[in-house]
Amino acid sequence: MTEQHPSLMTIALTWFGLLGLTLLTSLLGLVNLGAMNPTVAVIIAAVQASLIALFLMHALKGPALIRVIAAGGVLWFLIMMVLTLTDFITRGWLLPFGK
């Protein structure tokens, strides 16, 4: 077959990376970072998701179409998130960019 598969080393390293990030986020969760706790957690999750998508789901080495599809999906999710939040965040505002 002509398609490429990640090597055993890539798979193993990705796994270690994912477990390491899990440990990191679990430990950071026990520290009071105030309002940053959820943000940091989501960022670490996003890094984990990227590792899974790029290396285990072959997005990095696969055909370009796959990257377009995956990026499109993420973009659309972000469009939904951002544009919905613009309503909820600006609900109480009397002046632009302020309360």
Partner: protein, 217 residues
């Protein structure tokens, strides 16, 4: 080029490459639809999280933190075994792949076992909405809102995981029989994509439900 005369080339395709690429692209598009499905719930959750930060943090503090962390490790490891299965089948070592698929199923089942234990513990503590939910203190209704999201989102995830286990089992049989092998393993590759995606969803669920309140447990 390996002998592919026994390969099931469907009539609408001209070459095995076209068939394989079509199948993989189709699976990725399906995964994007699942991303949007869960995405709607993530957007809704975020709206309320921004509105009721104290209540949602309090709800999060009532999660079984180490069970969640353990489950995250389990699911990540199941992604390892799934990727290894894919690797070995592509190397024509289908028996090794089949065993790894079995391990994947066991890990997935372990995840569900822990998850349902969590559900039961919450039910026992009166934290299951519509089934005797009780909460005191300020913003109690919003804490219940948190739990509604918890059950809906992790429940939908568990349902997908259950379907995933079914799919992996469907792949186990032909892999063990070696009809999925180095020449043809597209269904296994697609099942693997689905499985990894379930893992992707989970890491975000862990981040939004378990972490925010962990430091005040």
């Amino acid at each position: 080029m390996a002998d592919t005369s026994h390969l099931e080339l469907r009539e609408q395709f001209s070459t095995p490459e076209q068939q394989r690429e079509s199948a993989i692209s189709g699976m990725w598009i399906f995964i994007v639809t699942e991303l949007m499905l869960f995405g709607g719930l993530f957007v809704a959750f975020t709206v309320y999280r921004l509105r009721y930060p104290a209540a949602f943090t309090r709800g999060s503090s009532e999660m079984e933190y180490w069970m969640g962390a353990l489950n995250t490790g389990i699911l990540i490891s199941s992604s390892l075994t799934m990727s290894l299965a894919e690797y070995f089948v592509a190397q024509n070592k289908s028996m090794r792949g089949a065993i790894l698929l079995l391990v994947t199923i066991l890990l997935g089942a372990a995840f569900l076992g822990i998850k349902f234990t969590e559900y039961y513990l919450h039910f026992h503590d009166h934290k299951m909405p519509a089934f005797g939910f009780e909460e005191t203190g300020p913003f109690a209704p919003q804490v219940q809102l948190f739990f509604v999201f918890y059950y809906v989102m992790t429940g939908l995830h568990s349902l997908h995981l259950l379907i995933g286990i079914g799919l992996v089992f469907f792949m186990f049989v032909p892999t063990a029989l070696r009809s999925l092998n180095a020449e043809y393993h597209t269904p296994l590759d697609n099942t693997s994509l689905y499985w990894h995606f379930i893992d992707v969803i989970w890491v975000f669920l862990f981040a939004i439900f378990y972490i925010p309140g962990a430091h005040i447990r």
